[in-house]
């Protein structure tokens, strides 16, 4: 409710900002933002973190993009970026883009349709010899692409194996920039060239990332800022103090937790702060191939003890959102309604009743308070992972499961999970685009690299393919809810909650529009300006 009001208030503010002639954009100035860490590289296609996409998206363009002026990422809000127009053929398996003429890369070379083909052939592995990317975490997004054909310099066609309307949404994500054919992977990781509104001039680890205005940008009059300077400040308290003292114009995205918000607002009374769902969920990884969780009854008892409200209360003062596999409404476009959610295991309103049933299951299996089931709960040795894991341990005690925390070094976390060397794991999952294809194919499809638990249900795979090919939104939504229900009943990867956090900026920063159903797609910065 509070979040809903915040969204409504922000929408009104955005409307007033854009509608009033008093807010004519001013050009010039440097936007100073704090950055939480050293991005692993500058190559967006190779990475899967907001630390990379928020920083470097401004150096690139996509074919299409989610309208930066809209609050919600949705297929209805997709506008052209490098593409002036696009069209599907009658069979809905060919998507043709007409490209904007006269676009140049930051090094002055012309952008052509070949660059589009190069990029996605490298990303989906079609061109094995390409060294444009050396790893590709979102390969599965393009598994339905049969071929990409170039028709002259300004037209490119994506040919699909079957209809898939979500392709356009995936191409609109911040994670789908177009790379230059003539660049190599190393360049893209260290000092990338793009066609975007800003050029990367400096990427100094532990220090600073500088981007300066691209004076030859093909969108005339943009960007308004002269430069963006990201200062890398790993210590969050230092970042907050830097913002409070005016040395940063904006905090890193979602950096301000609710307990911190009051302090920030007290110290900087004119700060504009906005809460939004980060599309990052806490979820439980279950090793269903080994005892004890190869037993569906124990899986069920485990999930029945979960009290999502308690998690939310402790972790975010009650702001986190309760949802199943998809981000719940109103922020999410596809998540199931509350009433339906309450019928799923792990989301019951009466937790005590669920726990009583779970205890009966455990007693039937021979467990009790004096003879609990002893397990280990692995998680990455980072506070945002450990905190929910500790709460889970406490809640499991209520159903005779005694968990020991096993903090794992980040460097070997996914190796351990891939080797199935765990019983339960506490995990965080960010979803780049609020679209069922992105989430289901990445996290639940049997052949996905990021389906960490190896969950394999042919029926669910079939349903995922079915919803993906469905072009009618309402019918697709029903299929999506059916999948969410099956995943919850199968205890595939129980979702504990969707994180909500705040981003703050100085009132002189204008043109900010934080989108409410993904933190990954709105960082072009071409509409930002400073009212100095």
């Amino acid at each position: 409710m509070r979040l809903g009001m915040a969204f409504a208030a922000t929408s009104l503010a955005v409307f007033m900002t854009t509608a009033s002639p008093a807010f004519a954009q001013k050009a010039g100035g440097t936007l100073h933002i704090s950055h939480r860490e050293n991005p692993p590289s500058a190559s967006i296609h190779e990475e899967a973190t907001i630390s990379v996409v928020s920083t470097f998206m401004a150096a690139f363009n996509n074919l299409v993009v989610f309208d930066p002026k809209e609050k919600t990422n949705s297929p209805d809000h997709i506008i052209g970026d490098l593409a002036d127009s696009w069209s599907w053929d009658a069979s809905k398996t060919k998507l043709t883009f007409k490209l904007h003429p006269g676009v140049k890369w930051h090094d002055g070379k012309p952008f052509t349709a070949k660059d589009v083909k190069c990029t996605f052939d490298a990303v989906d592995g079609a061109d094995a010899k390409s060294d444009l990317v050396r790893k590709s975490p979102r390969k599965i997004w393009y598994q339905n692409v049969k071929d990409i054909t170039v028709n002259g310099d300004l037209e490119v066609t994506f040919e699909l194996k079957r209809p898939q309307s979500s392709l356009l949404s995936m191409l609109a994500s911040g994670y789908s920039p177009i790379y230059a054919c003539h660049a190599n992977g190393r360049e893209m990781r260290t000092k990338p060239i793009g066609t975007g509104p800003f050029k990367v001039t400096e990427f100094k680890r532990n220090e600073v990332i500088k981007l300066v205005k691209n004076k030859d940008y093909f969108k005339k009059g943009k960007p308004y800022l002269d430069a963006i300077e990201w200062k890398i400040v790993p210590n969050r308290s230092t970042r907050m103090l830097g913002f409070q003292s005016g040395q940063f114009d904006m905090t890193f995205d979602s950096d301000v937790s609710f307990p911190m918000l009051k302090d920030v607002m007290d110290q900087k009374k004119d700060a504009v702060c906005e809460a939004r769902a980060t599309a990052v969920s806490s979820n439980i990884l279950i090793n269903r191939d080994a005892p004890p969780f190869n037993n569906p009854e124990i899986r069920r008892a485990m999930v029945d003890t979960i009290d999502v409200k308690a998690f939310s209360q402790i972790l975010s003062q009650g702001h986190d959102l309760d949802g199943a596999a998809m981000l719940p409404p109103p922020a999410g476009k596809w998540g199931m309604p509350k009433e339906m959610l309450a019928t799923l295991p792990g989301h019951a309103a009466d937790v005590e009743k669920s726990r009583a049933e779970a205890r009966k299951i455990m007693e039937k299996l021979g467990y009790s308070a004096s003879n609990p089931l002893k397990i280990k709960i692995a998680t990455r040795n980072i506070a945002i992972y450990r905190d929910p894991a500790v709460i889970l341990i406490d809640q499991l005690k209520k159903v005779y499961i005694e968990g020991d925390l096993e903090p794992i070094d980040s460097s070997v976390w996914y190796n351990k999970i891939a080797k199935k060397d765990y019983q339960l794991g506490m995990n965080l999952t960010g979803v780049a685009v609020d679209d069922p294809d992105v989430n289901f194919y990445e996290n639940y499809y049997s052949t996905s690299e990021r389906n960490y638990t190896g969950y394999n249900n042919p029926e669910v795979d079939k349903l995922i393919d079915q919803q993906s090919a469905e072009t009618d939104v309402d019918k697709r939504k029903k299929l999506v809810w059916e999948i969410e229900k099956k995943l919850a009943e199968d205890v595939a990867r129980p979702t504990i909650g969707y994180n909500v956090a705040n981003t703050c900026w100085d009132p002189k920063v204008k043109g900010v529009n934080l989108q409410v159903n993904s933190i990954y797609n709105g960082w072009r910065f071409e509409d930002y300006w400073l009212d100095k």
């Binding site: 990781r189 532990n206 600073v208 308290s237 190796n415």
Partner: protein, 315 residues
């Protein structure tokens, strides 16, 4: 003498060789390598992609080959490329050394500047209110963790000056360094100054009870002359030894201070390189530290010989 020198140089070479093997092997004993970390950072654990990265970086080669390449490169001044930034390791390491050196130097300077005179005052005014106050200050210096003190200093800085000292490589010159590194140096030097203060105090108290001090007083020497000329000079010997040891310990404090004050120095860089298993950075940096320590030890031994003719080294 000549034979001794040769033996010392050989011993130095042997020590450095041992260090190089130790660093090299220990780094590889830590679970996970850069290929694991890079793929983990992308949320994947794909064996093929990992193998591709490992091959590209040469970490799939036998360990002896890797060691040979490193040492061979080192002998030619080629430190290789950092795995994460993909820049020459030398270009990554060199610019950071002066930053940490300046910070450590200033910290030591502050530590001595405050520690010594306050220690003397505390001893001379033994059991007065001032002495009690200074003892409390020195005790807090020893017991406050530097990350917490750093945060307090930053908060006070925001409150009083409306800003925090954020490092900016574009600002150069003496005053720029003082304004950017002064507060962090005081924070990291506070612990050392407290130690120096306490040691100076106890050392001074011991000396002030000596007969020759009483003699100096009875001869009518001024208080300043007694305290600073006669007493302090003799009390300084153990303090100087501790200052030397503290200089080495400062590196540990720098890691925390560089993180809290966001200074892109070599200490924070080393810790991060270890976390990323960035072998070329860690190996070369630790090796550099080893070379510096071994060389200083050698020079100190040589200096002993030059300064004190009673010290003889057997050939």
């Amino acid at each position: 003498m000549g034979a001794y020198l040769i033996r010392r140089l050989l011993l130095m070479a042997l020590t450095l060789f041992g260090m190089s093997v130790l660093i090299f092997v220990m780094l590889r004993l830590v679970p996970g390598d850069i290929a694991d970390i890079l793929t983990n950072a992308s949320g994947i654990s794909d064996a093929k992609e990992k193998a591709k990265i490992a091959h590209e970086l040469g970490i799939d080669q036998p360990i002896l080959v890797q060691y040979g390449k490193w040492i061979g490169g080192l002998a030619h001044g080629d430190l290789g490329y950092a795995y994460v930034s993909e820049q020459p390791a030398l270009d990554e390491i060199l610019p950071r050394i002066p930053i940490s050196a300046k910070l450590a130097g200033m910290a030591l300077f502050f530590a001595v500047l405050f520690g010594l005179p306050l220690g003397v005052i505390s001893a001379v005014r033994q059991n007065t209110r001032l002495d009690y106050l200074l003892r409390v200050v020195s005790l807090s210096g020893l017991s406050l963790p530097s990350f917490w003190l750093g945060l307090l200093v930053l908060m006070a800085s925001v409150q009083w000056f409306g800003m925090i000292p954020i490092y900016d490589a574009d600002r150069t010159g003496f005053w720029a360094s003082v304004s950017m590194l002064g507060l962090p140096a005081m924070t990291v030097g506070f612990r050392s100054s407290a130690l120096i203060m306490r040691l100076t105090r106890s050392s001074m108290l011991e000396v002030l009870r000596q007969d020759y001090i009483r003699t100096a007083r009875s001869k009518g020497a001024s208080i300043v002359a007694v305290n600073f000329k006669h007493a302090l000079r003799n009390a300084l010997l153990p303090v100087v030894t501790v200052i030397g040891i503290e200089a080495a310990f400062l590196v540990g404090g720098l890691i925390v201070t560089e993180t809290v004050f966001n200074i892109p120095g070599v200490a924070r860089f080393l810790v991060e390189a270890i976390l990323w298993r960035d072998y070329p950075i860690v190996q070369n940096l630790v090796m550099l530290i080893a070379v510096v320590v071994v060389t200083i030890n050698f020079l100190v031994d040589m200096a002993y010989m030059a300064l004190d003719p009673r010290i003889k080294f057997a050939d």
